[in-house]
């Protein structure tokens, strides 16, 4: 063709290149992590600094931002429920907005299309707002219980803030983990240290766990769990946008809007919660673990009928259509592989990060280990 044709079509091609470049810029910067801008630290120094900074200002500094959680566990696709159901967090990508003004001033919002759920903690007042059913729930905390530690009736998205995840993971770092620190990560546009934890045990499915700490405030900004043989994190939770300035006060004041249903609930008095707690206790009694550290396998008694029973126990149909655990289980079991051995026989479900074995004698074994390891665990009764 003519020379001018190439020149002309160069314009849209250049436009496409610029757009592709702009789209790729974020992840690329995070992954390539150019020049380190932070001084080098050993893991010990870093944790000490972080601890010092935390105790110095009495916790996490006031901040706000957007937390994104992405899971690609390799599970079969889960049906979309459209609500803030915790089961949704197992696949796809989710976003919550966080405003943190202090231990007693927290707002967590989970926006979905044309809906939003909010948990607002202000002093001793806790509100749960769901725009979907136009309901404001005032959660009263029994005196003597601590808000921060107590479970809210609906699992709140604050459970997956980087702060908590990091703390949990750091506690788990023991002799069976190789720990190193990089000082050139970028999270939400901020320079960050990255604590990289690598399991020493070969049979673990976890390649490594990376915890990013803000270079200035030492606030955990991101947690990534990498499965073996995968370049993308199987699970990731972190800030996509963060500012360390005290959020506006109106974020923590909540007045139920006119026309909204207002409910009150006292934590601890709630019957359903008590049942939940009882159920959890029962389950905990039957729970055993096999192994140590990264390759620990949880063994618990399990019958598929239990879930069906659980479904009928929900009086007001709290499970949405798709979130019904029974249906979910059916869905998952479809992709299970039947296995057998000296320990018996069962069905094996393998994801990138977690292997589960449902034995025919009614045990469920779950662990971040290879299938060989979990069948080995199944042999230990």
């Amino acid at each position: 063709m003519r020379r001018g044709t190439f020149v002309r079509w160069g314009v849209p091609i250049a436009a496409a290149a610029v757009i592709a470049g702009a789209m790729g810029a974020g992840p690329v910067i995070a992954a390539v992590s150019g020049e380190p801008t932070l001084p080098e630290r050993t893991a010990q120094q870093l944790l000490a600094d972080a601890a010092a900074a935390t105790s110095e200002r009495d916790g996490i500094p006031p901040m706000s931002g957007t937390v994104q959680q992405t899971a690609s566990l390799g599970l079969p696709a889960l049906p979309q429920t459209g609500s803030a159901s915790p089961i949704n967090l197992l696949s796809g990508s989710h976003e919550v907005k966080l405003w943190y003004g202090g231990v007693n001033k927290i707002r967590v919002a989970m926006p979905t299309q044309f809906d939003e759920t909010n948990v607002i903690v202000n002093g001793d007042q806790v509100w749960y707002w769901d725009s979907g059913d136009n309901t404001a729930t005032k959660v009263k905390v029994k005196s003597g219980t601590d808000v921060g530690r107590h479970q809210l009736p609906t699992p709140s998205p604050s459970d997956m803030t980087p702060q908590k995840m990091a703390a949990d993971l750091l506690a788990g770092a023991e002799k069976d983990t190789a720990v190193r620190v990089t000082n050139n990560a970028q999270v939400a546009g901020r320079a960050a240290y990255q604590l990289v934890l690598t399991p020493k045990d070969e049979s673990s499915l976890v390649q490594e766990v990376r915890v990013a700490l803000d270079g200035e405030t030492y606030v955990p900004l991101q947690v990534q769990v990498y499965a073996k043989g995968s370049a993308e994190p199987a699970f990731q939770v972190g800030f996509t946008q963060v500012t360390f300035t005290p959020p506006a006060a109106e974020n923590f004041t909540f007045t139920p809007p006119a026309g909204a249903k207002v409910q009150e609930q006292t934590l601890g008095d709630d019957k359903a919660a008590e049942q939940h707690a009882e159920h959890a206790q029962e389950t905990a009694q039957g729970l055993k673990t096999v192994g140590e550290g990264w390759t620990r396998v949880a063994v618990l008694p399990f019958k598929p009928e239990d879930l069906t029973k659980a479904r009928t126990q929900q009086p007001d149909g709290q499970w949405n259509e798709g979130a019904d655990p029974g249906a979910l289980l059916d869905n998952v079991l479809k992709s299970a592989t039947p296995v057998s051995g000296t320990w018996g026989s069962g069905k094996l479900i393998k994801t990138k990060l977690v292997t589960a074995l449902l034995t025919d004698d009614g045990r469920l074994l779950v662990g971040a280990v290879t299938p060989e390891e979990i069948t080995k665990a199944a042999g230990i009764k």
């Binding site: 002309r8 702009a22 789209m23 044309f114 136009n134 974020n251 809007p257």
Partner: protein, 317 residues
């Protein structure tokens, strides 16, 4: 010239009135004598005014066209129907969420109307005007006369796209106004409850509607860029319109398939519905900003494709 006049008189034929004065009296361009030396012609003296004149002509063509008027009327009627439907169903307690909120507040009808219309009906009307822009002229043969006038290819394309953008905003404004009027008539006026559960004044509610109109209009302008680009590839306007709608529907299907979730952030419909960011407290400016960036990327890409195609196209229709 004097001899010409006498000759013309002799040759006069019925039905053709010789107006030999025409060429001398009608001033087209100061200093450009019809028979002047070729190089003496000054460049167009009022390019900006001439551009607006062509755009005005284009807008007149678009908004006076019965087909487009019907589309605007249909779009204006939808909020009315939604409003009446919700008014009838208002007693029903089971309605919750955004729709339930309408019963309590007149301004919410605007947001509900957008949430219904932004996914199909508004894109259809924008696709019709955008897809018809170049292909329609090519099909009717008027394109060759416009270009011989000479409208200039880049200039004509700019006018065509601006016209489609203005129509996209007209569509958005018509929906917003119809919903506002219907809402004010059928539902109580008062502070607006946002999705976050907080409440803002009527004035701020109106301001947020204004922001929504700006954002949704930009989203439709991005679709118009696709439609205009496709329009430069064909002489059959219905082809360009249908192709644009197929793209919109394919995008909707992709969004509905969970396995293809990772594609969603790159699709226009995903961002069209993000106007719900104005209903949060505080307004989720990050979401709006990212949406506008996506729209801008689409506009930049497809306008440059349209330009590359149209400036190099052989006009054989």
């Amino acid at each position: 010239m004097s001899t010409a006049e006498t000759e013309v008189d002799v040759r006069r034929t019925p039905g053709l009135v010789p107006v030999t004065e025409t060429m001398r009296t009608v001033e087209r361009e100061p200093g450009a004598a019809p028979a002047g030396p070729p190089a003496a012609a000054p460049p167009p003296s009022r390019p900006v005014a001439a551009f607006w004149r062509l755009l005005g002509s284009e807008l007149g063509l678009t908004f006076r066209r019965p087909r487009n008027q019907v589309m605007l009327a249909v779009l204006a009627s939808v909020p009315l129907l939604i409003g009446i439907g919700l008014r009838i169903a208002a007693g029903d307690e089971a309605v919750g969420g955004l729709i339930g909120a309408v019963a309590g507040n007149s301004l919410m009808l605007t947001f509900v109307s957008f949430s219904f219309l932004v996914l199909l009906l508004m894109p259809v009307s924008v696709a019709v005007v955008g897809g018809d822009s170049v292909a329609g002229e090519a099909g009717a043969g008027t394109l060759r006369y416009l270009l011989a006038a000479p409208a200039g290819r880049t200039r004509l394309l700019a006018v065509k796209y601006l016209n489609a953008v203005l129509f996209a905003y007209a569509v958005t404004i018509v929906v917003a106004l119809s919903a506002l009027v219907t809402g004010l008539v059928l539902f109580p006026v008062g502070p607006v409850t946002l999705l976050s559960g907080s409440t803002v004044s009527v004035a701020e509610g109106l301001l947020r509607i204004l922001v929504t109109v700006g954002y949704v209009g930009a989203g439709m302008a991005a679709l118009a860029a696709i439609a205009v680009a496709l329009s430069t590839f064909t002489e059959v306007s219905i082809g360009a319109i249908a192709a644009t709608m197929v793209l919109v529907i394919v995008a909707q299907v992709i969004r509905a398939i969970p396995q293809l979730d990772f594609l969603a952030p790159y699709l226009l419909p995903t961002w069209w519905t993000r106007f719900d960011a104005v209903l949060r407290s505080p307004i989720d400016l990050a979401a709006l900003g990212q949406g506008l960036l996506v729209f801008g990327a689409y506009i930049g890409l497809f306008c440059s494709i349209a330009w590359a195609r149209f400036t190099g196209k052989d006009i054989t229709s």
